[in-house]
Symmetry: C2
Subunit: 308 residues, 2 copies
Amino acid sequence: MTRPHTPEVLISEVGPRDGLQSVKATMPTAHKLRWIDALADAGLREIEVASFVPAKLLPQMADAALVVQHALRHSSLRVMALVPNLRGAQAALQAGAQKLTLPVSASPAHSMANVRKTPEAMVQEVQAVLHWRDQHAPGVPVEVGMSTAFGCTLQGHVPEADVLRLAVQLAQVGVDEIGLSDTTGMGNPAQVSRLFQQLFREIGERTGSAHMHNTRGLGLANCLAAYEAGVRTFDSSLGGLGGCPYAPGASGNVVTEDLVFMLEAMGVSTGIDLEKLMAARLPLQDGLPGEPLYGMTPEAGLPKGWRT
Amino acid sequence: MTRPHTPEVLISEVGPRDGLQSVKATMPTAHKLRWIDALADAGLREIEVASFVPAKLLPQMADAALVVQHALRHSSLRVMALVPNLRGAQAALQAGAQKLTLPVSASPAHSMANVRKTPEAMVQEVQAVLHWRDQHAPGVPVEVGMSTAFGCTLQGHVPEADVLRLAVQLAQVGVDEIGLSDTTGMGNPAQVSRLFQQLFREIGERTGSAHMHNTRGLGLANCLAAYEAGVRTFDSSLGGLGGCPYAPGASGNVVTEDLVFMLEAMGVSTGIDLEKLMAARLPLQDGLPGEPLYGMTPEAGLPKGWRT
């Protein structure tokens, strides 16, 4: 099988941020660094390594600056940080983050509950971040991951027109990439396909990542639909860490191992070494003893002859 | 949302056969009947209710004739039985089965290990079944589910040309429907799409069901790919019962509840009432105490406003 030298898709690993801030335990810094090293060694080219929020709110992220600084050693890696506001962005850029991502919710109810701001007020916050970035760190891309783009547990249905209008507003103020997040696992492949196709029509190359959840088992099917709609960046989490609201077998985030297996088996190159990726579960598990990890491919192993 | 009166897809529930013959415990007959009643009540229109094999080989299926006879009470249901050979077919037709399915493996290695016959010898066995059917039960459709169509744990890669050649042979001898089974969970969406599209070109309307496994988490993504390729019949199992070769979260068969949720959420009608379908887990669990059931949608519940 011939493979292109440049991978066709970008897997953006969110475990060290999204995963670690969702579990009760705090992973010791040394373990975080070892885990990130293993991820970089497996070929991941983008990792959301930390969240810049007050330590009293999220003690798991108190070492965010240290973690960013360590991750910068990997020249193959784009070191990404989540920031909820300008203050977080200032701290993240100060630490050396190479890409920022801000969450903006399409559902006003979710937005108020989550950040006590309307979506419109969040657009203003994003503008402030962009302004600061332009002054102090030009060239660092700013992404928005649009939460509840496929439905909201508070509001229920989220009109597609609301999602698209907000995306256009964000593009107009200069956000580099706008992705869509299925925060509550309510999306389905038809909707994912429709919404990303519309997003490409509205904002073109600013269309960002698909951040799918596996709450109802549709995570990979939704990633497939997004891929077919033209999406080439996917958020996922090693071991499905992060957002595990339900009982055994349920995981919030799409499992990186299963997603990479699906894409590679389809002949879509990710640049990731699957064996090394699965080996990166060890430092993760070492740093979070007893925490359940998910993933069907790691359980089953790679099939015989799957690459021939 | 307007919905057609005739469901667009047929979900063929395989739990009472495929599921029950994979678990060690034998479900008592009365529980089987209650479970099948609940499935029919939920709107399932085809159920593989039993396997006609010698009771000493599969004691779980010793009551096959009784189960078929009971299931025939449901006029909305097509009562299906798996038969490995002519002898089984005779018994199934005698009991009143309304559709037969035979497993024929695309991998010679798997075929020898499973039924001690080559694929070619199995085609002859199928021919004998068709001949008997023509004489004694004309009008009863005979299906072949082609095992290991997407790969084999013994042989590894299974050439697509082998799958298609065998399918054409089976169509030529008069098999009514030929479906493809991902027996070992090695299939990926690109392969599923390609193979079913070729199958449609080769045998047209005789193209049968997609029987996908969730071994590596790709079950629903593979069903989506099959749907997009034109497949309209899907095999799945309530609670993912059947073929659970690995640890927690891993299930062999695609989970009926998750599959129906995906399709219905996409606006593809199945004719199935999801609430009643999830309620059918109760008689299943009652009949197999302690047996793990899978399914993300049952764990998470139906999302707020998912139908609006």
